[in-house]
Symmetry: C2
Subunit: 140 residues, 2 copies
DNA sequence: AATAATTGGTTAGTGTAACGTACTATCTGC
DNA sequence: GCAGATAGTACGTTACACTAACCAATTATT
């Protein structure tokens, strides 16, 4: 139990570090954090607004404005769904895909530098543990 | 190199999971994320506004409003610094300490549940790796 | 077929938060 | 004693998330 105090604290600290890298990358790509998050989620997917809310963990109403701003920036667009005149799917534009890729590269590079010191075997181990924690989180 | 793609992605995913736990706890304690962050940073410390900006990684100007709102909520207060009439230190109120402790407990419990499946040895390993990554981040 | 309930999404209003720029007041070095 | 540097704030802008209320289209009910 006094153990968990340390692991959980480590997770929180680590999370804030990763977030700061993420936000740094956002600033460099002139993209607000929520927009960057949106791009990442839309990569390879084309969900409806409600599903998107679920993926992002925010309310449906928040997604409206988020996608509005993304459209205004030319990063994403709403597409009509044939057969349901209420619904729309959201998808990346070409520019959106481009920004997403560039952004991802930046984040990967920066984080890569941070873990560069760790031995190869630790990388694998860390990845495996993260996967298990993520599974536990998804199951919750 | 194709390796890093996996580790870094794991870090990002993990970070978002931890953040979602953090935000969940915020909602339960009726405290906005930035306020919760502030409480955590103020625990055991009593920095000036500029130092606080550094600790949080935001601009000095942002801290003014942040502390304003914290004061309005009765969580923190500004204290005059004897010998420098410009400066003030920020410190937690009794209620601030109380909320911080309760909040910390919630987060620790939730994260503890997520790592509960992992063997004890993994906890230690994860903590050690996180420490190294954090050190690399601090050095940057 | 008509009505009720559900689902998909938006609107409006509020609170929070971060930024950049410009500003005041105080302190420090020469 | 005056030129900077430093501590903090004010202001205007953008962004984001929430709640509550709403419309429109779809599906279920009888």
């Amino acid at each position: 139990m006094g153990e968990d105090l340390v692991v959980t604290d480590a997770l929180v600290q680590l999370s804030f570090l990763v977030q700061s890298v993420f936000e740094q990358a956002c600033a460099e790509h002139d993209t607000p954090p929520a927009q960057a998050r949106l791009l990442g989620v839309l990569e390879g997917r084309s969900p409806g607004m409600a599903e998107l809310a679920g993926l992002l963990g925010v309310e449906r109403a928040s997604v409206t404005g988020l996608v509005d701003r993304a459209e205004r920036r030319g990063l994403a667009r709403r597409v009509a769904v044939p057969g349901d005149r209420r619904a729309s799917r959201v998808e990346l534009t070409g520019q959106g895909r481009q920004v997403e890729a560039a952004f991802r590269t930046t984040v990967t590079d920066r984080l890569g530098a941070l873990v560069a010191d760790l031995p190869r075997s630790d990388h694998a181990h860390l990845t495996r543990m993260a996967a298990r924690i993520l599974a536990a989180g998804a199951a919750r």
